[in-house]
């Protein structure tokens, strides 16, 4: 029953997404949106990919990684090399960025994911910084002054990547594999005792997350004209972390909503970067003090829809079926 219902919801979402895609494409082609809005739209898309990919690692699997910007950097540089130095097409670059970031994810994940909590956090932060310093020291990609990249990002590619990220991560989460990851988040020792290969699933979540962060890196590089190592410091990792935490650890729709809202706020505060950071940090502290579960908690937006439906129908046990 449940499984079939999921399938129905899946196709419904696809149709909605297609409509949204066509409308935006029309608005962009007809130049109804000025470049500022288009650019904000692209940034929103990239941030959604980043937030959702980190959500899989932190929110679903419970592994506190704060080095996500490292994978973003790998994707950005690899894809830039593919288009700028090797002259290959943009889609190849996106894929290559993702694949190399995923390989980096395996290399980093296997040793570090044995660590827990704070130690894992600090180790991933360290790895993120090491990757940035690595690019700083490679003359081939311009060292500290960075690399200029053509603006190749287009709405269809961006939209396709966002949709692919969401579908892959939702489908992964709503399967026995996703449940294995959630069980690790809930209680690693019990998951192990129930026959879950915890290392395998932790690394797997980390690698999938890294892959999509790499794809986001490819989009990022081909949107901003220039990439420099300083763009990928751990402050960038914190930015992504903020999206996931404010959205609600464990809620994918929360991550998406946070990515949309915060990117819009950031765009409007672009001329006041300090003020933006002051506000962000205050919001972060206040949310942790008063609503540590974030905007959505672990609930998905579908749970709220079902709840209101149940309320209308007057079903007594409606709230019981809010399976997130």
């Amino acid at each position: 029953m449940n499984v079939l219902k999921q399938a129905k919801g899946f196709w419904f979402t696809i149709v909605l997404a297609a409509i949204f895609f066509v409308v935006m494409q029309f608005l962009i082609n007809g130049e109804f949106l000025n470049p500022f809005y288009v650019n904000t739209l692209y940034t929103i898309g990239i941030n959604i990919i980043l937030a959702v990919s980190l959500h899989l690692v932190i929110g679903i699997t419970g592994q506190f990684s704060i080095g996500h910007a490292g994978f973003l950097a790998v994707g950005a540089y690899v894809s830039a090399i593919i288009t700028m130095k090797l002259g290959l097409p943009f889609p190849v670059a996106l894929l290559a960025g993702g694949v190399v970031a995923a390989i980096a994810g395996i290399i980093i994940g296997i040793p570090t994911l044995r660590l827990r909590g704070d130690y894992l956090a600090i180790a991933t932060l360290g790895f993120g910084e090491i990757m940035r310093i690595l690019f700083l020291n490679i003359e081939y990609v311009g060292g500290a002054s960075g690399m200029t990249v053509s603006h190749l990002i287009t709405w269809p590619w961006l939209f396709g990547c966002v949709l692919a990220t969401i579908i892959v991560i939702v489908n992964f989460t709503n399967s026995t594999h996703g449940r294995a990851c959630i069980s690790i988040r809930e209680n690693e020792i019990a998951a192990d005792a129930m026959g879950i290969n915890t290392t395998y699933y932790k690394v797997m979540a980390f690698v999938i997350g890294a892959f999509f962060a790499g794809v986001a890196g490819g989009l990022h590089a081909h949107n901003f004209y220039i990439i420099q190592p300083t763009n990928f410091s751990f402050l960038k990792s914190f930015d992504i972390l903020i999206l996931v935490v404010l959205g609600g650890l464990g809620s994918m729709s929360g991550s998406v909503i946070a990515a949309v809202l915060l990117t819009i706020i950031t765009a409007f505060l672009a001329n006041y970067p300090e003020l933006r950071m002051v506000i962000y940090s205050l919001v972060l502290i206040v949310v942790m003090l008063f609503r540590p579960q974030g905007l959505m908690g672990t609930k998905e937006i579908t749970a709220f829809l079902k709840m209101s439906k149940a309320a209308k129908g007057g079903a007594q046990d409606g709230s019981r079926h809010t399976v997130a």
Binding site: S175, E186, N187, A190, M194
Partner: protein, 259 residues
């Protein structure tokens, strides 16, 4: 396998943490289908012994084998797949997951659909997930938990949480089930129900069970054989009657109360 052949064989097993011998020189044989109890004063090393059996700790001496297969040094999840499953002294449910999902996690190692088939929603994914769900619901009926399938585990009353934990351990299809103080914190009525449940599942699943318990009524009532652990060493084994009259056991317990 015929009844009476040894299922679990523990030879001279032990573990030391630094200089401390937490468990040492334990010899123990469980026959197929047996229901045995492990008792002992607080801090005797009972839970540590369970941790040795399930691979949470690697024994520093001796060997542990299940149906002739050596288990030493295997990761816990591998030992579970070989057929030892357990519950925990302080309940360790996946508290933010539903009752149904808790059991589904235990079925995970039986799932045949790959990550890719799930991501691309291939037919094998739907087939695998449907089967899993049907099996889990059937299974929860035995434990009278089918009316709370979609409730989060953390919202269940205490007695049901204990039952769910046993159900989850059984869903992993163990040959040997280890229960760590299953009746802890239960009232007499709940304990009674639990004893019946244990008898029932043992019958139904042809299980071998080893349980740690402080409640002497429960241990003496259901167990056929009892092992007594004190200061990390096995000091006695036998039928409930033999244990009740064993001077060493009496001393271990009385000695504890004096200190």
């Amino acid at each position: 396998m015929a009844a009476g052949t040894p299922l679990l064989k523990v030879e001279n097993a032990g573990i030391r943490f630094g200089g401390l011998k937490a468990v040492s020189g334990v010899n123990l044989e469980l026959r197929q289908g047996e229901l045995a109890g492990l008792i002992g004063p607080n801090g005797a090393g009972k839970t540590t012994f369970f941790n040795l059996l399930t691979g949470v700790y690697v024994p520093t001496e001796g060997s542990i084998s299940l149906v002739g297969e050596k288990l030493n040094g295997l990761a816990p999840y591998k030992i579970t797949k070989k057929g030892i499953s357990r519950t925990f002294q302080n309940i360790r449910l996946f508290s933010d997951m539903t009752v149904l999902d808790n059991v589904k996690v235990a079925y995970h190692s039986l799932a045949r659909h790959s990550i890719l088939s799930s991501i691309f929603r291939l037919p094998s994914h739907f087939k695998g997930e449907m089967e899993m769900e049907e099996k889990a619901i059937e299974f929860l009926k035995i434990f009278k938990l089918d009316h709370v399938l979609h409730e989060k585990a953390k919202n269940l009353p205490y007695g049901q949480q204990r039952r769910l934990e046993i159900a989850r351990a059984l869903a992993a299809k163990p040959k040997l089930l280890l229960l760590d103080e299953p009746a802890a914190g239960m009232n007499p009525q709940e304990t009674e129900d639990l004893m019946n449940l244990i008898a029932l599942i043992r019958e139904k699943f042809e299980l071998t069970i080893l349980l740690i318990e402080h409640d002497m009524n429960l241990v003496m009532g259901v167990c056929e054989r009892i092992y007594v652990l004190d200061h990390g060493q096995l000091i006695a084994e036998g039928t409930p009657e033999q244990i009740r009259n064993n001077p060493k056991v009496i001393e271990a317990y009385l000695g504890e109360e004096v200190s």
